[in-house]
């Protein structure tokens, strides 16, 4: 009997639980690395079995989660979890009847043999680096294949498999280095050759980079950063729809109102959607962590906050269906061309040294690892580095201009370039 089945048996025999959820994940993660010392292959077997128990009392509901590991029987662990749940009572709520899991493709059959897939991805990465005329400092490919199982006391029993792949490299060109990273659920999503070319270009640009001039400027964020190091900026957007913050009166903007003054009348009003059902999206899944079905929803429509991220508990407290939370944020396209956004004095970020964004307020600092400082039309941009972009990044996104196209980079989907007005450069 598997540990997951043992856990189910222990949970089903109890009468002191109002509700419960059991989840299991069995994964194999293979990492293939190549560097000056040669080849290194790591394979890790990861097994996770956990239960969340809910207990009801006159004053509300308490919840606790327990992981089942080692060779211990699950019964005593559930006893301890019940005790902890009883000491952690919050508002009363009850799970709605189980909804149908999202029908979403999160499995790439070409990664079914993770050891071979990791070796193939690493070989492709190394070949792309060689083709670009660069040297490999270190390169790695990681492939994971995982089987999930979720069963609840309300009759939900779902199993699915998913794959994930990521590549990382540090390359060298003429004594200069640059890093690259990409992730997805299928090798074809990674765009390795283009990323290697971009990394080579950044390494060469860094050789001539000068200090970033301070002042105020419009800043362009490319999709490569929004899907990577600048993801905390999107995290601040997601926090706008945090249902718990709304329930507690802590949200920045109320539902049905413009997120910031003038956002609904902006030149290119922003629409943001959560799409946890995007095929092969890194954050896509049939179910959320509490067994709630994942659904697409609109977070912001033309600058107005219209949707909340609802897990099982927050949805139940409101008496509405859950949606599994904010996933794979999609920014609506704008009406600008890339050339229009790359105007005189605009700073186009290429690499970040850090992203320090406060989710509740949207205020943040982005460390400028490398950027293009654009000049007048017809003049080439100058490479700059150092300093920070600071300001209210959420307000800037709501007042942004964007290219018309839609690209996908990791969890991000949206315009290739996002232009943020009037930020401080320090």
């Amino acid at each position: 009997m598997s540990r997951f089945d043992e856990l189910l048996g222990a949970l089903r025999g109890r009468g002191d639980l109002a509700e419960w959820l059991a989840r299991g994940r069995q994964a194999t993660r293979v990492t293939a690395t190549r560097d000056a010392a040669g080849a290194l292959t790591r394979a890790a077997a990861i097994g996770e079995v956990a239960a969340t128990v809910h207990v009801d009392a006159a004053t509300g509901r308490g919840s606790a989660t327990v992981q089942v590991a080692g060779d211990r029987a699950p019964g005593p662990l559930i006893d301890a979890a019940v005790a902890r749940a009883g000491a952690a009572l919050g508002p009363a709520w009850r799970s709605p009847p189980p909804g149908a899991p999202a029908r979403v493709d999160v499995f790439d059959a070409r990664l079914a043999d993770p050891e071979r897939a990791a070796a193939d991805a690493l070989a492709a990465l190394a070949a792309a680096i060689e083709r670009a005329g660069a040297a490999t400092v270190t390169a790695s490919a990681e492939v994971e294949i995982a089987d999930h199982a979720v069963t609840t006391s309300r009759g939900l029993a779902v199993r699915w498999s998913e794959t994930a792949i990521a590549v990382r490299a540090t390359i060298a060109v003429d004594g200069l280095a640059a890093t690259l990273a990409a992730r997805g659920r299928a090798a074809a999503q990674l765009g390795v050759a283009a990323r290697v070319d971009a990394a080579v270009a950044r390494a060469r640009a860094a050789a001539t980079a000068r200090p970033t001039p301070p002042g105020r400027a419009a800043v362009v964020l490319p999709a490569e950063l929004l899907g990577g190091d600048a993801a905390p900026v999107l995290g601040a957007l997601a926090a706008l729809g945090d249902a718990a913050l709304h329930r507690q009166g802590l949200a920045r903007a109320p539902l049905g109102r413009a997120v910031v003054d003038g956002a609904d009348g902006a030149a290119q009003p922003l629409t943001v959607r959560s799409d946890g059902t995007r095929a092969l999206g890194p954050e896509s899944a049939p179910l959320g962590p509490h067994g709630e079905p994942v659904r697409r929803f609109t977070l912001i429509a033309d600058g107005v906050l219209v949707g909340l991220a609802l897990d099982q508990r927050e949805a139940a407290l409101r008496g509405v269906p859950p949606n599994g939370g904010a996933r794979n944020l999609t920014l609506g396209g704008g009406a600008s061309s890339a050339d229009e956004l790359r105007g005189d004095g605009v700073l186009e970020l290429l690499e970040l040294t850090h992203a320090d964004v406060e989710p509740l307020t949207g205020h943040g600092a982005l460390g400028i690892g490398l950027a293009w400082l654009h000049g007048a039309a017809g003049t080439p941009p100058r490479a700059v580095r150092g300093g920070e972009v600071q300001g209210d990044l959420v307000a800037a996104l709501l007042r942004s201009r964007r290219t018309r196209d839609q690209v996908i980079d990791g969890a991000y989907a949206g315009p290739a370039l996002v232009w943020l007005p009037d930020l401080a450069i320090l």
Partner: protein, 487 residues
């Protein structure tokens, strides 16, 4: 004013108290705990390595096991949660390269299965494993977390919370005494080596939250020690310091930006040492050809008074006798009299970088992967009392209470985030104090401008990934100051 748990976590941000709140549950969300591992890993590991060694020219095994208990005694609730984690990694190598297999299923059957799979794939050029006699390096704290019931551990924190409440300030809306207790074991088995290292570590502290107008003010003091339950106490001085930080009234507006003479408190110096030296001068970072630090090895990167060492043998927070690759630990001077002197190295990194192996191959308990990681890093203290540091800069700013730092490896440009800047005029504090500031500069410039080092040091500890610590004094130097996350 009452606060929900989620509000608290949001306001407390990256503080130690926020971690304790999440770990210990409370209103609003599920708490998580795991089951202890009751397998005798040493004998299982020896058997597994022996099986693999029979067919591979190189073979070794490593196992890690940890019980981590979070404790919280706070306004509105108290609790404890214990998480258990165990991992085994088998490593083999031949001319084709290195293979590692890791599992979190540490039952004897699973480990034996893993070993059998690896053994079957071996080239057949192995021999009988002879690990020699087992060697134990076992910490035996005065009050051992392995033998004392966790139910009684909260007493010391309850007492600290009660003492903090006697301060009686109505502006303090939330207080918490909190701690993490780690009981960790690591085994390494290879040719000629069978080593166990057991460590007990405690990080205990107090956090207070007050409102200053509509702005939350957080005061927190956390002390980490390689010790047992006896280290759970929080001193009256720490409580008073945390309360003072939470209740301080700040000067309106942003800190004056620009270059300035600075006194950096030990936490800010520790953040500079951690991000600018400890995390850069390792073989994990050394591969970049444009790493600014690489070109400076053997050259001055700090004032001659500055010496920074990593010493796992000094009995500090993260100390050990051997690293997770079986190499003996040793004291390494990273910056010696101002000169960049050495690179922290694991076995693979040393081979790539062409530097000596230093016994810093450390594996994370989450994934079992090895990398060159520091242990206990110390910047040697000077002889100056705090007043003398203020006098040394004359006019400038004191920067206090670091909240992290970032470094650009190409330029060695560093940004340190801190909670306070205080104005100094003619060698005295003026009473002006601003919140949320940054200090910027190239690491060699910040350390090269050091004109005085304080006599007293503070040790900052971390249990993220692997245990580490940085001990540093206050320094007088020069750097650029700017507001953090300005509008």
């Amino acid at each position: 004013m009452s606060l929900t748990r989620r509000e608290l976590v949001a306001l407390l941000g990256r503080t130690a108290a926020a971690g304790a709140l999440w770990a210990c549950g409370g209103r609003g969300g599920p708490a998580t705990a795991g089951a202890p591992v009751e397998v005798e890993l040493r004998s299982v590991l020896r058997d597994a390595v022996a099986a693999v060694r029979a067919t591979w020219p190189e073979a070794s095994g490593w196992a890690g096991q940890r019980a981590r208990t979070h404790l919280l005694s706070a306004t509105g609730g108290r609790g404890t949660t214990t998480e258990h984690l165990a991992v085994v990694t088998l490593r083999v190598a031949d001319a084709r390269g290195v293979i590692e297999r890791t599992t979190h299923d540490v039952t004897p059957e699973a480990i034996a299965r893993l070993a059998a799979e690896l053994a079957a794939a071996g080239p057949g050029t192995g021999r009988t494993l002879d690990p020699g006699a087992p060697v134990d390096h076992v910490a035996r704290p005065a009050q051992d977390p392995a033998t004392l019931p966790a139910a009684g551990w909260l007493v010391a924190l309850d007492a600290a919370l009660a003492r903090s409440e006697r301060l009686g300030e109505t502006r303090i809306v939330w207080r918490a005494a909190h701690a993490i207790v780690d009981d960790e074991r690591r085994w390494f088995v290879g040719d000629g080596l069978d080593v166990l290292h057991r460590a007990a570590r405690v990080r205990a502290g107090i956090t207070m939250l007050a409102w200053s107008g509509n702005r939350p003010m957080i005061g927190e003091v956390v002390v980490g020690r390689a010790a047992g339950i006896e280290a759970l106490g929080v001193t009256d001085d720490a409580i008073a310091l945390a309360a003072g930080r939470a209740l301080e009234l700040l000067t309106p507006g942003d800190v004056p930006a620009g270059p300035s003479a600075l006194v950096l408190d030990p936490s800010v110096v520790a953040a500079i040492v951690a991000a600018g030296i400890r995390d850069v001068v390792t073989t994990a970072a050394w591969g970049r050809p444009d790493l600014a630090a690489r070109a400076r090895l053997g050259q001055p990167v700090a004032a001659p008074a500055v010496t920074i060492v990593d010493d796992a043998t000094a009995g500090g927070f993260a100390g050990h006798a051997r690293d997770d690759e079986g190499a003996p630990a040793r004291r390494v001077a990273l910056v010696d009299g101002g000169t960049l002197a050495a690179v922290l190295a694991d076995a693979r990194g040393a081979a790539i970088a062409g530097v000596p192996r230093t016994g810093h191959g450390r594996r994370g308990l989450d994934d079992g992967a090895v990398a060159a990681r520091a242990t206990d890093v110390t910047m040697t203290a000077g002889a100056e009392p705090d007043d003398a540091l203020l006098a040394a800069i004359g006019d400038g700013l004191v920067i206090e209470t670091a909240d992290g730092a970032s470094v650009d490896p190409r330029t060695w440009q560093l940004v340190v985030r801190a909670a306070r800047a205080r104005r100094v005029a003619r060698g005295k504090l003026t009473g002006h104090a601003w919140g949320d500031v940054e200090v910027r500069g190239e690491v060699p410039a910040l350390l090269g401008a050091v004109s005085a080092l304080g006599a007293t040091t503070t040790t900052l500890t971390s249990l993220d990934g692997v245990a580490t610590s940085v001990t540093a004094p206050a320094i007088a130097t020069r750097g650029d100051v700017a507001p953090r996350r300005s509008r």
